[in-house]
């Protein structure tokens, strides 16, 4: 299936969360939505609601305070979903690697499907990354979800996961 056909079949909606980066990639993600690059050509809309999202764009090196929120958001996005780490600091920590309040990248906390390098990532790179993410999304179904050990340990059964979510919401 070509990219164009794929994008016609699916209209992926984007959820974007900044986990403590420098805003550089965030403004580039916003720029992707504006007339010059106009990612709405692929049917993509940026929505703040995790329950409606398919593609989860994460920027930033994951500070300790953002970590719980990131896991919470990740669990709220319905399956199948793809996670795109945008920018060097989301991939491997970037300049913030090994600072005391930083987790060194998104993949230490939640599973990541596509890594977009660049500091700050260009709109072209983000489009490339999202297109690649859509390829992965088309292969994913609800059955073949691979949960990472980190999340499995924390939430062994689905019921537990729901309970933890409710507790998080109360906080």
């Amino acid at each position: 299936m070509s990219i164009f056909a794929l994008s016609r079949v699916k209209s992926p909606w984007i959820l974007h969360y900044d986990t403590g980066g420098c805003n550089g990639c965030d403004i580039e993600i916003l720029a992707v939505l504006t007339p010059r690059y106009d990612v709405e050509r692929f049917g993509m809309i940026n929505r703040g609601n995790p329950k409606q999202a398919d593609v989860f764009l994460v920027t930033g090196p994951v500070t300790k305070r953002c970590r719980e929120r990131l896991i919470n958001l990740y669990l709220q996005v319905p399956e199948p979903k793809v996670v795109v780490a945008v920018g060097s600091c989301a991939c491997d920590g970037g300049v913030f690697r090994n600072m005391y309040n930083v987790e060194n990248g998104v993949d230490k906390v939640i599973p990541v499907d596509v890594y977009v390098p660049g500091c700050a990532a260009r709109p072209h790179q983000i489009i490339d990354g999202v297109v690649k993410a859509l390829e992965i999304l088309s292969k994913k179904t609800k059955e073949n979800i691979e949960l990472p050990e980190y999340i499995k340990e924390r939430f062994p059964s689905l019921n537990d996961r729901r309970k933890v979510l409710e507790e998080m919401r109360k906080r």
Partner: protein, 378 residues
């Protein structure tokens, strides 16, 4: 005594009944960055505000004294904030030069290129926040227009410095990339186009009925209040406070080029917005003058010593005064680096301004203050 305590508990009970708590953030459509406000509202009128600004705390101040030597410092502090990256790298480089004792020897061409980087940075930041403000007001059309024109400035930065967001052009001892003659010509041509789009922006923000009626009289900051809370940047200038670090500190050539400060008296959201629009003209003028005033030549000097003195530098970032302090000990890493970012000075006034404002006016009011959380958290 007993009746007093009874009264108090009754008051609390009434409070609990009437006040509705609305969390805003840390993940929200109107916010590209993580910041959290908790509003206690009474019939949609905000009564109490609590804020949490530390989602982005990474520990850069500590890392600058333990992980990176002073030559790498400008590249690291550029990542404090991506929107005002040049505004961070310049004072960092200047303060290191002052701590070494070579700040008088920086060539004029390097100073001019630093100024061009800073002003291009300011232009794109002002375009960004004004577009975002229009979007938050529900005027998506203007948002798209302004962001389309902003791409011209991003292209300029891309052409001159090699990256759209992180310029990385400033290093300790000067700059590491010159602007050749043919690029200067393209830059001057593009500036005319940008000036046209600034005119368009000014027309919209002064004449459009929807935007003006939405923003006028919203979140008024009087001059006394601005002085008392020590707010900085375009927000202070919109209240009539004459403060601009470009003329107060002498790292650049602003005094030689004749700098005019833009101030307004109203102090409401519209004034803050218009100050930013009018500053764009001044920025464009400064870029032109900076190109004219210097010839191609030496752009950097060799740095051989390590920082050994104490020094401060104040710089006007797009959001206001940016303060850097460095204490060197003669080693390769400084002893203490303090970064006081503009938003840190503008945050204390927010609960005061947001009190007794209707909840649906909060997003435009917040955006007119232009908070940059990546700066605040560091």
């Amino acid at each position: 005594m007993a009746s007093e305590s009874k009264n108090k508990t009754r008051e609390i009970q009434i409070k609990e009944k009437v006040y509705t708590t609305i969390p805003f953030g840390s993940q929200h459509v109107a916010l590209p960055e993580p910041i959290k406000f908790i509003f206690d509202t009474e019939n949609e009128i905000v009564k109490e505000i609590k804020f949490d600004i530390a989602y982005v705390h990474r520990g850069i101040e500590k890392a600058l004294t333990t992980m990176f030597d002073f030559r790498k410092a400008p590249y690291v502090v550029g990542r404090v904030c991506g929107i005002c990256s040049a505004a961070h790298t310049i004072p960092c480089a200047v303060v290191m030069e002052r701590a070494i004792g070579i700040d008088r020897e920086i060539p004029d061409r390097a100073k001019a290129i630093r100024m061009i980087a800073l002003e291009i940075n300011r232009l794109q930041s002002h375009f960004l926040i004004n577009g975002h403000l229009a979007e938050v007001c529900g005027y998506e059309n203007v948002f798209m227009h302004i962001w389309r024109d902003r791409e011209m400035i991003m292209d300029l930065a891309d052409m001159l410095f090699g990256n759209r967001v992180q310029y990385d052009v400033v290093c300790v001892g000067g700059v590491n990339r010159d602007i050749p003659k043919d690029k200067e010509r393209v830059l001057l041509d593009k500036l005319n186009e940008i000036e046209k789009s600034v005119e368009f922006m000014e027309k919209i923000f002064t004449k459009d009925r929807t935007l003006v009626s939405r923003l006028k009289g919203l979140g008024v900051v009087s001059k006394e209040m601005a002085l008392e809370y020590g707010i900085v940047g375009p927000m202070a200038r919109a209240s009539g406070v004459k403060t601009d670090c470009r003329v107060e500190d002498d790292w650049g050539l602003y005094k030689d080029l004749g700098f005019e400060m833009v101030t307004m008296e109203e102090g409401d959201s519209l004034a803050r917005c218009l100050v930013r629009v009018r500053e764009c003209y001044e920025s464009i003028r400064i870029i032109r003058e900076a190109i004219k005033s210097t010839e191609e030549g030496e752009i950097s000097i060799k740095v051989t010593a390590n920082p050994k003195y104490e020094a401060v530098c104040r710089n006007e970032a797009p959001r206001g005064e940016l303060f850097y302090y460095v204490k060197g000990t003669g080693g390769i890493m400084p002893d203490r680096v303090r970064i006081r970012t503009p938003t840190l000075a503008n945050i204390p006034i927010l609960p005061e301004v947001m009190k007794d404002v209707s909840y649906n006016d909060i997003p435009p009011l917040l955006m007119s203050f232009d908070p940059c959380i990546a700066c605040t958290g560091r």
